[in-house]
């Protein structure tokens, strides 16, 4: 994915992070943690003139205040970008505010409960093992390209009832929307158009031949007045599920394997004490939260004592909140069995990630199956780890060598 970064309009390099931050700067992409520490030391809320004006809350408290405040902050734009075009393609409920948000969200919740995920789990275990079968004899692999990407692609395709082999298309659209789209509106609109056309085709098929997948569930759903959802609503929610269900978990599994590759003590502990997995997954989610959201300021207010004015976006960094030492002792250290962990990786308040139970299950299963078959692995010094840019952070190249180091 890094190859296409070169065609994006360039932003000037950042010299003054506190007054001119830029979450697409290569320094941030490579290692954002020291930057967040610097910003947090300066103020609970910082501002940049980039992106037509954008704030960033730097503490857990400030992130929480904004996430809970749907009066002053709207979710109608959920990506901080160079442009703010008229809103055309909504993706309810993530782009919804109260009162429209709740009914749209409640339609999506039942298929994603922990019990529903238990039913999907055997399929995900099988997917993981099918993937590992393809590269284990090589003694090495790019885990981002061969493993961590395909687990969520195949799982969400399975749930939606669309072909797993279309995965490359999904990845292309998501890259267009979440990465290229920050600076290139045409790339975003093109991806949205293609996705909409793709799902519209699936809707037409199901109107003739209903299925029992998530697309048909949404098509059969009724709004609060008992009417079927408009096709536009169904298409928006389907775009959301595909976009939100892939890059995010790809990143979370990738960051977890990256951490375990360079931290033998944690890896060995998880192999010896598999019962630690639930705590470990939460801690890896905290330390390497993939998803940064956005809000748009609608009315003037103050956040943690800092004035916030309309006309600006907000970079709502749950990852930075999760590294706040005022909330998490030893915040920059992965404590694999951390007991108290109110992390905000899936957001706070009404927009809690609808797929959080799916993401947790995929992460748990992907790490467990990997450790069963490849208990020893390390970063390949001949390769380079690269990270995605902007809204979702995780490894996009993750070259690993299997077995113990000589």
């Amino acid at each position: 994915m890094s190859d296409s970064a070169s065609i994006m309009p360039e932003h000037p390099p950042v010299a003054d992070w506190i007054n001119d931050f830029d979450h697409t700067d290569p320094t941030w992409t490579e290692n954002p943690f020291p930057i967040w520490e610097k910003l947090r030391a300066a103020s609970p809320v910082v501002h940049t003139e980039r992106f037509l004006g954008c704030y960033m809350p730097t503490t857990y408290q400030a992130v929480k205040e904004i996430a809970y405040d749907t009066e002053h902050f709207s979710s109608r734009r959920v990506i901080v970008r160079d442009v703010r075009p008229e809103i055309t393609a909504r993706a309810p409920p993530i782009t919804s505010d109260p009162p429209e948000h709740k009914p749209a969200k409640q339609l999506l919740l039942p298929p994603f409960t922990p019990d529903a995920m238990k039913k999907l789990e055997p399929r995900v275990r099988a997917i993981c093992n099918e993937l590992i079968d393809e590269f284990i004899v090589d003694g090495k692999c790019d885990a981002a390209a061969r493993y961590t990407k395909h687990v969520p692609v195949r799982a969400i395709a399975h749930m939606l009832g669309i072909p797993e082999k279309d995965g490359d298309l999904f990845i292309k659209w998501i890259h267009g929307i979440l990465e290229l789209g920050i600076k290139d509106d045409n790339a975003l609109m093109e991806a949205v158009r293609e996705m909409t056309g793709y799902f519209a085709g699936h809707l037409e098929q199901r109107k003739k031949h209903p299925t029992d997948d998530l697309i048909s569930t949404l098509m059969k759903a009724k709004d609060k007045d008992g009417n079927p959802l408009a096709d536009e609503h169904v298409l928006g929610s389907l775009r959301l599920l595909l976009i939100a269900g892939i890059d995010t978990t790809w990143s979370a599994i990738g960051s977890s394997l990256w951490h375990l590759a360079k931290t033998p003590a944690d890896r060995e502990r998880l192999v010896k004490e598999p019962e630690l997995m639930p705590l470990a997954v939460e801690e890896l989610l905290r330390a390497y939260s993939p998803v940064t959201m956005a809000r748009e300021v609608m009315k003037e207010t103050t956040i943690s004592g800092c004035p916030v004015k309309p006309g600006n976006m907000v970079l709502l960094s749950f990852p930075a909140a999760n590294r706040d030492p005022a909330m998490f002792p030893d915040a920059d250290r992965v404590v694999i069995d951390r007991k108290e962990n109110r992390h905000a990786a899936f957001g706070l308040g009404i927009h809690r990630c609808v797929g959080s139970n799916l993401a947790r299950m995929e992460m748990t299963v992907a790490i467990e199956e990997w450790l069963k078959r490849i208990p020893d692995f390390r970063l390949d010094p001949a390769g380079k780890v690269t990270w995605s840019e902007g809204t979702v952070r995780g490894p996009r190249q993750l070259p690993l060598l299997f077995g113990k180091a000589n």
């Binding site: 639930p278 007991k339 109110r342 899936f346 139970n357």
Partner: protein, 69 residues
């Protein structure tokens, strides 16, 4: 010796992170939307006190109240 514990999930605060159900499945149940509520009247059986506190201290929405009777 501390008194008997009682838990309560604030329905206005719970957003369905389901951390409590994962950490203390004996004490919490989820509804069809994945939102949590306490099992029965919220009384914590002897031996499960640590789980009650663990669930309370991991709820991102601070939606779980633990009281000593």
């Amino acid at each position: 010796m501390a008194g008997k514990l009682k838990i309560r999930v604030d329905q206005d605060k719970c957003q369905g992170h389901a951390r409590c159900k994962s950490l203390a499945p004996e004490l919490f149940d989820l509804d069809e939307f994945g939102n949590a509520h306490e099992v029965g009247d919220g009384s914590v059986p002897a031996g499960l006190e640590d789980k009650a506190w663990l669930a309370q201290s991991n709820c991102p929405e601070i939606a779980i109240e633990v009281t000593e009777e």
